[in-house]
Amino acid sequence: MKAYLAILSSRFRMLLQYRAAAVAGTITQIFWGWIRVMIFEAFYRSSDVVQPMSFEDVVTYVWLGQALLAMIPWNTDPEIRSMVRTRTVAYELLKPVDLYNLWYSRTIATRTAPTMLRSVPIFILGLAYFGMESPESTASAVAFGLAVIGAVMLSVALSTLLNISLMWTLSGQGITRITAAAVILFSGLTIPIPLFPDWAQTILRLLPFAGIADTPFRLYVGHIPPHEVIWVLAHQLIWTIILVVWGRLLLNRGLRVMVVQGG
């Protein structure tokens, strides 16, 4: 356990160095947030029907999505990609630690460090200027905090699975893009899940993607009452376990078939 924590923290500290990228990312995400808010604004003023989510809640939901965007499992780790391609992944096997746990720990850092750098300014600016609201209640804030931890565990499990899939695809471009497309649409990042057609909701709530963004965000705005956090966490945990087991099986098979050339 100590080894994994050390890997996590060293990786985390390294990633915190990319401040220029974080500034650029923050500006990009604010610009996107603006566009999205204006589009929702136009839709909401075009219809008198009472919607399943209020416009104010949607605005906050959009800014949460922008603030926590770097947490979303949308790409593979460039270093693991090059390790697999050049087969230096063999060195990883020499380390006296479990490879799955090793990759899982480093991915926690990959998903959290950039998020921390970007989310703070977006939260501050969003709350001050862009119509983002603070959590519905203290209980909602606590529930949101717990669900974000669950979301990170789930997101990291999916990212690790993508990283492992590199052992077959090498470039990983196809499978990663397809997964990214599913994540971006079904997690609620593009539009909040409650605004999807009613028939699609049941399926979308069962899929793992909702646990990455939608359920934590809805706990924040109070659209899901705080006492229901237990169901949100259960959903995240079940999917995390499934993805971890799947990832481990895949990794074991990958290591058996992998050929490392000498020299």
Binding site: G25, M38, I39, F43, S46, Q173, I178, A182, I191, P197
Partner: protein, 269 residues
Amino acid sequence: MSIANTLNLYWKYIGISIRAQMQYKVSFIMAAIGHFLITAVEFLAIWAMFDRFGSIDAWTLAEVALFYGMVHIAFSISEGAARGFDLFPSMVKSGDFDRFLLRPRSTAFQVASMEFQLLRIGRLLQAVIILGWAVTTLDISWTLPRVLLTIGAIGGGACIFSGFFVIQATLAFWTVESLEIMNTITYGGVEAASYPLAIYRDWFRRFFTFVVPLACVNYFPALAILGKPDPMGLPTVLGWLSPLLGVAFLWVTLQIWKVGVRHYTSTGS
């Protein structure tokens, strides 16, 4: 150095680039499918919103599909063709650009023809499908001028986006850091122009009309095609001038590029 000779050379370069990408066929097909899906979800999201709200400021889904199809076709063309400019900052960093200065062709031409990203066909394909759907669903009388305007607007749009890539590359002459901020305008512009500009707030509309003339190659021509007046009261004639504006924008960015080339000092590595 006639134009025919230059074009011939361009096709040769493109041919080499495409053959190289086809060496990994499965990887290419997967990537293209992935690209198709990741851009198609954007339209799925728009569809879901219309399913819920019915319309956006009196614009229908088919009308929005026209805007969406036109801008995405334009963008995918420039994404495929001007990709070299996207890779350019790394050439400056490595000093590889020096070789281009020695060859008897313009630097802009060489950079542009460096790589043709075929996988962008994914975005192109989905945009063509959506534009096709819009065109058949909307009640438009397709006169020859309207057809030409549609093609011209897409061409003008491709010029504007290529201009963005040129500016982004030009900035690399002064700062070796890659400038992600330009991506914001490029991709943000695509996202924004997928909807009629009239739905946005004033400052934003002005930005994409006067600062970055994206609206001129998408919004105004689409209005002219639909035969709708601009809710903001700008003259429809603007739509018919748009393709020229796109070409003018690209020309201006290429002049800035030339200034950049004169300013270039090799990293020496």
